[in-house]
Subunit: 316 residues, 3 copies
Amino acid sequence: QSNVEIYGLVGVYAGSIKRSDMTPRVTQLGHGGLTTSYFGFRGREDLGGGLKAIFQIENFFQPDTGAAGRNATDPSFASRSAWVGIQGGFGQLTLGRHTTPFYLAMQAVNPFVASTVFSPVVLQSYIAPFGGTIIGDTVWNNAIQYSIPTMNGFSATAIYGLGEVAGSNGVGNLGLTARYAQGPFLATASAQRVRVGATAPSTGQYAYLGGVSYDFSFAKLFGSVQKTERTVTDLESSTYQLGASIPVSQAGKVLASWSQTKADVTPVRETTRNTAAIGYDYTLSKRTDLYAVYLRDKVTGNSAGNSYAVGIRHQF
Amino acid sequence: QSNVEIYGLVGVYAGSIKRSDMTPRVTQLGHGGLTTSYFGFRGREDLGGGLKAIFQIENFFQPDTGAAGRNATDPSFASRSAWVGIQGGFGQLTLGRHTTPFYLAMQAVNPFVASTVFSPVVLQSYIAPFGGTIIGDTVWNNAIQYSIPTMNGFSATAIYGLGEVAGSNGVGNLGLTARYAQGPFLATASAQRVRVGATAPSTGQYAYLGGVSYDFSFAKLFGSVQKTERTVTDLESSTYQLGASIPVSQAGKVLASWSQTKADVTPVRETTRNTAAIGYDYTLSKRTDLYAVYLRDKVTGNSAGNSYAVGIRHQF
Amino acid sequence: QSNVEIYGLVGVYAGSIKRSDMTPRVTQLGHGGLTTSYFGFRGREDLGGGLKAIFQIENFFQPDTGAAGRNATDPSFASRSAWVGIQGGFGQLTLGRHTTPFYLAMQAVNPFVASTVFSPVVLQSYIAPFGGTIIGDTVWNNAIQYSIPTMNGFSATAIYGLGEVAGSNGVGNLGLTARYAQGPFLATASAQRVRVGATAPSTGQYAYLGGVSYDFSFAKLFGSVQKTERTVTDLESSTYQLGASIPVSQAGKVLASWSQTKADVTPVRETTRNTAAIGYDYTLSKRTDLYAVYLRDKVTGNSAGNSYAVGIRHQF
């Protein structure tokens, strides 16, 4: 028991949701919200010589319905991560199911972090009804990940996800992220190549991300650029995001982010999607906060939609 | 780790089961029995000012097969409950998946409490092969629940379960329970309106329950009345239940309950079901007990069936 | 929380796998390996008089994909075991889902223990693509198990798994294992009759196992014999296994095992399968080890296949 730590976050929001291409709107109690609810177990063992064995098992879950995972296609035991590995002076090597470094880089340079409900850039990147540009999930299976030790604020991570296709070892995913953080400044660049689950005729997708954040104390500003390109079919997308996190009291801060994606879709034409969110996050304690968010969404050929919600998050 | 408490109950029974309308009988090792097995995590955080953040995540499970939930349609992560909320002088407000106050009221006024295998009134209310009169589950999704603080033995809970039907906000479930407990006396009244999952042409169901219990020391007596009525189709049911819990030694008590339901069924006719159970529950320790139960069941048009079982429960 | 212990093992291997009848080979990150990953909760309560209430809930899981269980047909909550019972001077009686005594006996007399990926005799007994001779799983549902207390190194376990077929109480599984362990010597004999899940026209299968191990310090040697016979269809199999575990340094040992199965298959003919594995297991600490395994497999009518893998196991 002393070897295992239990931790996680349970979050629920109540809101009225309407995307640009959605009609009519739906009133719902949703799971997640600012952070997708999860439940985790982790542990470490000292191996001597500065080495540690480490493991982590995390499952997303839906407190509104009791369902496992984020959706019906998620695995039921450890949808968020499941890995084991070794940590030491050489860095960290882990094997199993991992959150992609690309998604982690995206989180670092937008004020709504990992929110799959309220972060404009995350919606436009990963959520299919919002035209999610990135092929493949935010989590990769069968992956080997290596991170160098952080040196003078610089860190880097490489991940390789095996496709496990008999006779076709090349059908694998590859990701690389570099990050520099010093004082109030952070910059990150990430690239990934996805081949697992690519839909023919495309054999995969390349995605690139660059972003920065700077904390001016009175406000923390964020900016990021993303590009994707599918092999063979040549479908491309460009995403630009700007954001801010502004403390307005000891416990409250305003969050704002706007993201625009221009994307090729089939049959071939270009669409433009603008999604913007503004929210207020109020900290009740070290582990609990309340928030309200307004989100506006507009895609080519549809009238604008808007959503509003209030929510609670509790870490444990 | 210190933030999360692990708890639950594992129960198994071995028995020979035959409902009135069932032939032949089946000998089985069953999960649950007097209490359905479950596994839970809960925690609380002091927010100051008498407020607490609270959460609870509980999963039913089947120790006979290792399956999650009570049945194949249950979610696999938190079928029993999953919620987060705030507790304080104002009462308690929680959001997520909740056990209905109606089912909790029913448990308080019958000696077999929540047993979905041996409690006659629970069988006749919630278990389909026993003609379960109540539409909807004992657990509601997407629910907001508020309880007032207990005052002079009086408490009350309201719950609203969103239907999340786009453009139809009114398709929701509603429940209200009041309860008064003072010394040996307890009385409770509950009403609920179920619209989520109603089968056309009916648009839902109203259900009402009233019940009392009184502990005379030599015996605790129970009595309850329930009525249901479906909207549009007008299918009705009435249920009457009487029960007793009689201590016969320091560790042992006899449990007895009889329940009768008269219900309209389609094609329209009325059926009467009588189900009675008598059991003996022997406490081995604070957390472990053994029991034996005999159950007799008779419904209009079928010969009587009877079931007997022995079981074990262990709380942790 | 103090009532529940959390424990388990997370293991992953990276390897290139090719069975005798498989083409082409597949490179994969696999879950399990030397031990199938699992996650468990267990507890005990002192009942006085030398009696204890005990329970155990264990789930297999797949750290490469986050899936629950060993495969898609496993239950999602407690695929490895789920039982509750009583322990005392009389022995141990438990009810629920259990690992079969037959599989446990097999583990005691081969150096690759329970590995469903690298143990030749386990592959030939339980893994369908390797011609697994044993009908039924390594885990039985609805089971009642009784073990006598160990006396002078002798122990024995009986298990009965109910089939729960209405009107056919005889469709159940039965298993018996005896074991003698004294100093460096261990001998075990096991027999089981499987009727649950038998495929017509066969009404079941009888399986027998005898095995020994002896620890000569410079090496521990293993040997086992298995026979199976299906009722009605009379399909038979014979399996012979020899193995060794040889310490080569303070932390490292070489493992080797060869298993041969001659089996009747339908349409009726006899096949011979030879599977051999050699591995090196290196202990990093009390709870973590690394290993490398080479496995060669040859079945009648196919060219030989060979697999190699490196892996990590971490207990918690």
